[in-house]
Structures are given as C-alpha cells and as structure tokens.
Amino acid sequence: MEKTIEIKNLYKSFGSLHVLSGVDLDVHENENVVVLGRSGTGKSVLIKIIAGLLTPDRGEVKVFGQSVPDLTAKELNELRLKIGFSFQSSALYDSMTVRENLEFPLVRNLKNMTRKEIDKAVDEVIEAVGLKKTLDQMPSQLSGGQRKRIGIARTLIMNPKIMLYDEPTAGLDPITCQEINDLMNQVKEKYRTSSIIITHDLTCAKETGDRVAILFDGKFAYQGTFEEVFGNPDPRIRSFYDYNFIEPKLQN
C-alpha cells in the first residue's frame, strides 16, 4: 500500500529540552497508527510537525510525497485541506454555533459553494457523528464527548485523506470512549483515511490501531501490532500495559 506519511530521523527540541531524537515512522493508505508514550514525550509535537504547526530542527517529514517544512504558505494550506486534525481540547470556536463551526472550513476555503451545498455537507458530517440536534447549540452547551465528536465532524467536512487525533478519548467516561473509538473506525472505513492516533488509552489503541508505536526517550522503541508490541517483555512496556489493564491484575 502507498505511504501517505513518511518520517525519517526527526529531531525537535525546545531550548535545552530534547523532545524528539530521531523519530522514524511510515503511515500507509487507509491505516490507523496509534502512537503511545508517557506524557511529555513529544507525541503531540509529532503530529503538530506533520500538520505544519511546528517546524522540526532536522529530519524528513513527507506527506503525500511533499516535504512539509519546505512547503510555501500556499502549498502548505493546500496540503492542509487533505489533513484533519482533532485537538485534545476539541478547539471548537466558542463564539460560533456548532453549525458555524462545521461550516467554517468550507466557507473560508471553498468560496464558490452555494448555501444548499454547504447545508448538505453539514448535514452529512453531523449525521456521521450522530449529533444532529446540537446544530444550533453553542460549544459551551455540549458535553466533553459531544465536543470531541463535533471537533472530528469539523475536520471531516473537508473530506480529509489523513486524520490526526490528539488524545481523542482523554477525560471521557468509558461508554463515550467506546463511542469515539467506534467513530474513528467508521471514519477510517467511510472516508478511507490514514490516521495517527495519539493516546494513553490502551483499549483505544487495541480497538482502533492497525499498528502501534511506542515513543520512549524521543524515538519509537517498538512498532507493530498491539499483540506484538505488548507481548514484549520490556519492563517499560509492561508497566504501561499493567496500569491500563487493571482488571487482569485484580483477578490475579
């Protein structure tokens, strides 16, 4: 399958803090890659570099064969139309209704669309996330799970080929987490997206990831299927696994 994202030997520091120290990662077409790692290990930095929000110190980041740090502002914006970014905080525009939030990328980027076409696109994505009745509400009236789903819907409206999810299940109850996991799988099937999912939630990783990559000390220590990675006896991986899957521990 064709590679959509290629990262080679990527470095990023903030002052004296070395966050990424030689990261390599490939994401293929219609593949979900889950990135795991402790807080502060640079998982979010990685996807922000892919989206062109941060510039790497060195290394290669290619999306659809284009080197992201070398793109002009115009080329980067054209590339961004193919990338959906779901933020940890959902990042809904608080001064706009849900409908205005969903319309925003369309109205600003595709200026020749008619009102009818915009309404149709909004209806399609809001139905995809199952929140049609919230269309005229303000983001402050939504629950955490609803905000996440609307955030995902806002990215889907541009029909992206790549989805970058930053902690999609953080701070949500288990039932809502399950709904978000199902939604991410549906998005992959329906929109044929390639995704990078940043999470600490191993249930999410197991359910959504075709491949799992674990970030330790600024680089990916292990990559493979969930079973391959968590079958590894490395104590750092064991402690990650044991904390998340508390039930077998309690039974023992």
Binding site: F85, S89, A91, R108, N109, T155
Partner: protein, 261 residues
C-alpha cells in the same frame, strides 16, 4: 565570566526585553504583509467594526458628555478672575478637539476594546482554536488580526469625532446654564480658534491610537501562554501597554504638530 552569563548578550532581563521588542516588530511586519497580500476578510471586518464601534457608543457618549461638562465647569473660575468667560467656548473647543476627544476615546477603548481583543485571542490561543484555524487552511493573522487592527484603526477616529461632538454638547450645556448664549454663537466662538492643522492632528492621533490598541491587543492575545492565567495577563498587559504607548504617541504627535504651527 561564568557560563550562565555567557549565554546572554547583556543580561537575561535586557535580552528578554530586546527579544520581546524584536518579536513585536516581526508580528507587526507579518500583519502588514498579510494585510496587503490579498483576500481581505470583509465580513469579519464589518463584524469587528460593529463590535468595536457601535457597542462602544453608550460608554463614549457618557464619558464624552461628562468630560465636556466638567472641563467647562472647572475652567470657568480661572477665566472669571480675568473677566474672560467669553473665551470659554474657544478654550473648551480647542481642548476638546486637540486633546480631550482623541485621548478620552482612546483610553476608554484601550480598556474596553484592547482588553477584549487580548482576552478573546488569548483564550483562542490557549484552547488551540488558533491552531485549529491554521490547520483548517485559514490564515489566522488575516482572519483574526488584520480585521481587528483595521476595525480599531478606522472606528476609533470615528468614535473620537463623535466624542468631540458629545463633549461639545456637554460644554454647551454648562455654558448655556451660566451664560446667555445659543448653539450657533457657542460654535462660532469655539471654532474661530480651530485651524485645519488641529483637525488633521486629531485625526492622525486617533488613527494612530486605534492602530496601537488593535495591534497591542492582538499581539498580546496571540502570545498568551499558561492557560487561564495567561489570558488574564494578556488582557491586562494589552491595556497597560496600549495606554502607555498612547501617551508616548500623544507627546510625539503634539511635538511634530507644533513644528508646523
């Protein structure tokens, strides 16, 4: 020299201050580049004009009227000592047109609008809404900053003009209560002493103050960090810095205007 001090050109504080100055300069450069690179967000600009201009009218009306009334009332005793109360309309008109209207409007607006812009953009920054805009292929500088700076630069001179009218109404009320006069006589006396340079200087001042308020609010908001505390700091420092710069600009513009008198 120890290794810590060797990292700085002057000292940590001076270097930080100079870097802040450089960052602000780069920000202004970026805003100008985006403003003149096409694709002006006209709808958002009109929305900001409404928010900055129309919503400030009640406050400007009240402060302008009170300023005109109180200034006239407090100037009367000094003029009475010399039997020169007939000069009152000229005195207050000169004071209002040359200094009070642009200054009062700008100080009110830096409190109301500067803090509003700083807090709004600061909150958008810390909740990643600006990043979300950027990854949606929307240029946040063009959409959020250029529109706000342009709206502040255009509406504050208009508000200053309105403030001058309301302040003159306040002054006239005070004059008419104490002396027998009418509107035409008051305005005729008042505007006898006003020359074209006064009007131009007032417009330049108000435009420059408006630009400063918009730009400082946006710069502080865009650079907000540290969550809600950062939002509060952005709002607060927008007001303090824009007020400080308004007085510096006032001093500078008055000096330059005096060279042409």
């Amino acid at each position: 020299m120890n290794s810590e001090s060797a990292k700085h050109v002057f000292s940590e504080k001076v270097d930080d201050w100079l870097m802040g100055f450089y960052d602000a300069f780069e920000f202004v450069k970026l805003v100008f580049r985006e403003a003149f690179s096409g694709g002006f967000e006209f709808t958002e600009f009109v929305r900001q004009c409404y928010s900055i201009g129309l919503k400030s009218l009640p406050l400007i009306s009240l402060t302008g009227f009170v300023t005109g009334y109180v200034f006239t009332k407090q100037s009367r005793p000094s003029l009475m000592e010399f039997g020169a109360t007939s000069w009152l309309p000229s005195l207050v008109t000169i004071a209002i047109v040359r200094a009070l209207a642009p200054l009062v409007t700008s100080l009110i607006c830096s409190g109301k609008i500067g803090s509003g812009i700083g807090a709004e953009l600061g909150s958008m920054k810390v909740t990643e809404q600006i990043d979300a805009m950027e990854v949606s292929a929307v240029n946040p500088i063009r959409f959020l900053v250029v529109t706000r700076v342009a709206a502040a630069t255009i509406t504050i001179p208009i508000l200053s003009f309105y403030c001058a009218l309301v302040a003159l109404a306040g002054a006239f009320l005070n004059v008419t209560v104490n002396e027998e006069t009418n509107v035409l006589a008051f305005l005729e006396h008042g505007f006898d002493s006003i020359v074209f340079l006064d009007i131009i200087t007032a417009v330049v001042k108000a435009t420059s103050f408006g630009f400063t308020i918009g730009m400082i609010g946006c710069y502080k908001g865009f650079n907000a960090t540290n969550g809600t505390q950062g939002v509060g700091q952005a709002a607060n420092s927008s007001v303090v810095l824009s007020m400080f710069l308004i007085f510096i600009e006032e001093l500078f513009i008055v000096q330059v205007a005096n060279w042409f008198r």
